[in-house]
Symmetry: D2
Subunit: 346 residues, 4 copies
């Protein structure tokens, strides 16, 4: 039995970790922390948990947390994560960090998009936890940087094409849309029901969203050359889900049929990637609550562009589910353990 | 391994049965039928299932279905169920019927609210499958009539009071509200997104809803006397959930504290009923995707009325989850097997 | 041209007043105030207004406001209203107050449900602004207490029966459900999109909601005797609308047909009350954005109860629309002026 | 007073025409037709209209319709429109056609995307009714082809750039998302509440959507050269609104500031186009129920791409509101008459 702590448990990704880990046969959740709600029962904050998980939230004292757990999920805002992760590592624990703090290899890039990095030493040791492209490095890793939600949806959409060198790497546009859980659980007017409901909007347009350097880093590694992308996120009035519609240009003319074959081969055996048959398109509704990434590559034969549509649940494959997948790989459990639940539809 | 068939698999309760049974370690789903979609893969209709359940839907030929399964879930409209259930029973199968056809003990009552009953012989053998009040009869039953969604939420709300004879049985009002899955998956203008969204309405008011005789039958049995209720269903713009707010009058003055105690005692040990602590009220959001019924009894001390608020997921405790619970009891599996998943929130 | 100020303009009722008043041919909006957003343009807060109403929000300095306006709408929280209304009245202005501060005739009742009343002197002068039952007193009034949203929906539902003495006044239950704008625009976790969406819940059950004394006061006046009600509010995942389902008992057996006739006669000529034909039920969707109250009275012949279903838009007939209606009556404009817009559906 | 008929009144665009025209001081609606619902009152289908518009729906007999109206709005499916429009024109009526039948100048293009055109003679006489780029030709026109919803949002987004020759016309991607009213009111499983709610999906990707030739025709005319676009529509779980995010490349480097200035100059004096200040982005929520198109052009300085985000209400500026705007221009009414209503928010 693996003892596990969740640091920052009172947010949506924390709750989702609990939901998934309570169905995992090899895990015991032994410690939950929350800055704002220490002393309260987690089931008072999230009544879904009542009778199943009634742990009391603790203050975040890293040494005490480390005493209770073999592996720690850090579901904290950026900066807060790197203030505690070094302690966990020093004490010999495995860490799966859901923040942005260990995703960017270059501390200067982190500094340019966030603020000066406090822990560059561990940056080098961190493994970017996108299993589909870096599974072998995740095995046994001490520190896994769990990928961001938008990056997951976009990197999986482009990996086959970039890896094979089939597209113009200078011509990539990712147009994405996220459910509102992506904005977290902080009390802000912008996240109020009546502000979000019945509206669709773009935000952070024009190259300003902080997921951009993460996406570019990973796409560049896949391409073997440095590349830039145009990325526009949108907000959808729904709880969960990210759909990315990615546009690019092939080096040589291709067909939808060829692309589908390419993607099916590339992702053969992947337990959580489903390449849809030609003619089908993904919906976030079809992955809700599951760890799947659904992909549909296709060609617009009139203009020659390639379009790839990808769908994930931002809280599962885009955050907590992927974190559990990484835990499974790190610890040598079957990769799908605890993640077999089917999507909830409707 | 129990081989199981789902007759009428292309509706929402059928899909929910698949979702739950695929997480059940003792069950194999061997046969799915659909009148409208025979020949198509279930995963083409519900892409959530892709890669996990790709069975082909079959025509409903009872003998062939029976050959493939030990236990059959019938998720058909009323009347269609009683056209096939007798064959399944004759062939020695267990049947859990999610329609209304075997819920009413008196065929004349069925006739008055629906149409003449075709199979009164089996009516007597059917067990009304609300485990919390009839668990012992469900064990080993050949035919379980799975309760309706509204009745489940209302009967569980009133059982402790009626069983103990604490209220005026002539003064019961149940005001309920359901998510849109309750209307099924038929293509009707009234169920279109834009007709339902951003509106809240009553329907079937004034004693006309067909769940009334079922509710009254079971409440009368609990009370030991014949009673009538006033019941008003409403439609909520959301996918899942039923919340019932039930009003009644105590024979003797009581307090919220006493009621909470009474309910906690009555439902002690029940795996799927959660009596909330005083001061908390249920939300359908907190049971979404789970088999829980959340209950909060309270007293309006100004008027002396008792109010009980109950919440279920209409597709789970109100249909398919309760059906799996009944299967577990019928077959001697642990009652919670396959139903341990936590609610999906948000 | 009537010069009008809106005090507390940055909330949803303030915005709705602007929306309606900008279509009113006899009104000029000359002043908007906001405590939190003074100095900002209202159209920066509500971009719907851009290019149509770009006034700058001012601090609430009562004398300065009064200089700019003949009539003032106070859309403030309770208590804040009675801190400024006396000044407006002293300066000879008309006030239509959308808060609870002047709705309860008895300052002790106010004290029991809210806090000690600061301005009992003006309480006596205030007219409760439900035009359908008190139109003549509203004409020329200096201070109109604009009714609450739930009270409007419930009083209009019961007025014909109580006025005619047809029901047992001790047996009234009002089960109501409101859209989320009813919770206002404050940044609270409970009002976040993901906390509200896809859930239906009761709140303030058991006789604790502050609209109760207002409802009971007005129903008692109609009945000519003191009465108490049981009232349960619910929260619906939608922006706008209140539906109330009201249960009571007739003194003498009656029929739906008789009730519909009674209601049609009672509300004959009322521009904003629609009594639906027998067989139709209201939906909040059908009044969204309009000042209508839709009513359907009916009899449950099995139990003898009377049920009345009423629907309003909580921001229009339940707040700002009714306030404009009151302004029209106060000032002698045609009562429907500026309120002729049809509901927005879908 | 202009007598107006609406042919195909029982759909959402028909209803929206009624909503708008009933606030228009110079118009009387004299005739409504519906194939499916002839003989029923329009207010039985859309209870929002009860008491305000209770006209009985008639069969579509063109000559009888023409007798009752000076101007006819045809809100029919494609093909059905061109079966009746010739009769209306022959009888000397003005027609504003909301279908696709008269939008494409070249009948062969129509044939390639739809089916053989039945009425090429009138194609030449039809004026494409996008007032912002073709106002002078609309004046007095007999037949106005009212633009499609997606085309309206995309053409307005690109017109300033193409007209001035500032972009590479071969490099245009339009990524759009629509509310569900865009799918109409037909009873289809795909449009059911539970199929649409809580999901975001692409559809018609890869150059197959029938609005493409319309968009390309108009953009090519603006550019003065033939061009192709890549267009991907998406479905958003909300009633109304289209947001288009358009990507292109400038011929010469530019800045957001320059673009905003360019757009503000280009659309100066346009009553229904709002160019947002730098730093603001549109939301469909801010135009809901209004005839505005909100535009935000910007530059992604990292990649050099231009991004334009545009928002309209698909039923208003994307259909019925624009049709009323065209009627105003055709008939010499002030262009904003009947369209002054502010957006409904929330």
């Amino acid at each position: 039995m693996l003892n596990v702590a969740i640091v920052g448990a009172s947010g949506y990704t924390g709750l989702e970790l609990i939901r998934l880990l309570y169905c995992h046969p090899e895990v015991a959740v032994t410690c939950l922390t929350s800055e704002q709600s220490a002393g309260r029962k987690i089931s008072d904050i999230f009544p879904t948990l009542r009778g199943r998980c009634d742990l009391t939230l603790e203050n975040l004292e890293p040494v005490r947390v480390a005493e209770k757990a073999d592996l720690i999920f850090t579901a904290l805002p950026h900066k807060a994560a790197m203030e505690v992760v070094p302690t966990f590592l020093k004490l010999g624990k495995h860490v799966i960090d859901l923040s942005a703090d260990y995703r960017l290899r270059d501390p200067d890039v982190y500094g340019a998009w966030y603020e000066p990095h406090l822990n560059p030493a561990n940056l080098k040791k961190a493994v970017y936890g996108l299993a589909e492209i870096r599974r072998s490095k995740i095995r046994g890793a001490r520190l896994v940087a769990n990928p961001g939600c938008y990056p997951t949806s976009i990197i999986l959409a482009l990996a086959p094409l970039l890896k094979k060198g089939l597209i113009h790497s200078g011509d990539i546009i990712a147009d994405s849309a996220s459910g509102v859980t992506g904005a977290g659980r902080a009390a802000k007017v912008d996240s109020l029901y009546c502000e979000v409901n019945e509206g669709f909007r773009a935000y952070g347009a024009g190259g300003t969203h902080r997921h951009i350097p993460e996406i570019e880093q990973e796409l560049s590694l896949l391409a073997g050359e440095s590349l830039l992308i145009t990325f526009t996120p949108h907000l959808v009035p729904m709880d969960r889900g990210i759909l990315s519609t990615v546009y690019t240009r092939p080096r040589q003319a291709t067909t939808t049929e060829q692309l589908v074959k390419l993607y099916q081969d590339f992702y053969k055996g992947e337990p959580f990637v489903r390449v849809l048959p030609q003619g089908s398109l993904p919906s976030t509704a079809f992955v809700r609550g599951s760890n799947f990434c659904d992909l549909a590559p296709l060609v617009d034969s009139r203009t020659g562009r390639i379009i790839i549509v990808s769908a994930i649940d931002n809280l599962v494959k885009g955050a907590s589910g992927q974190a559990v997948q990484n835990m499974n790989i790190v610890c040598g459990f079957p990769e799908t353990m605890g993640l077999e639940g089917l999507a909830l539809f409707p």
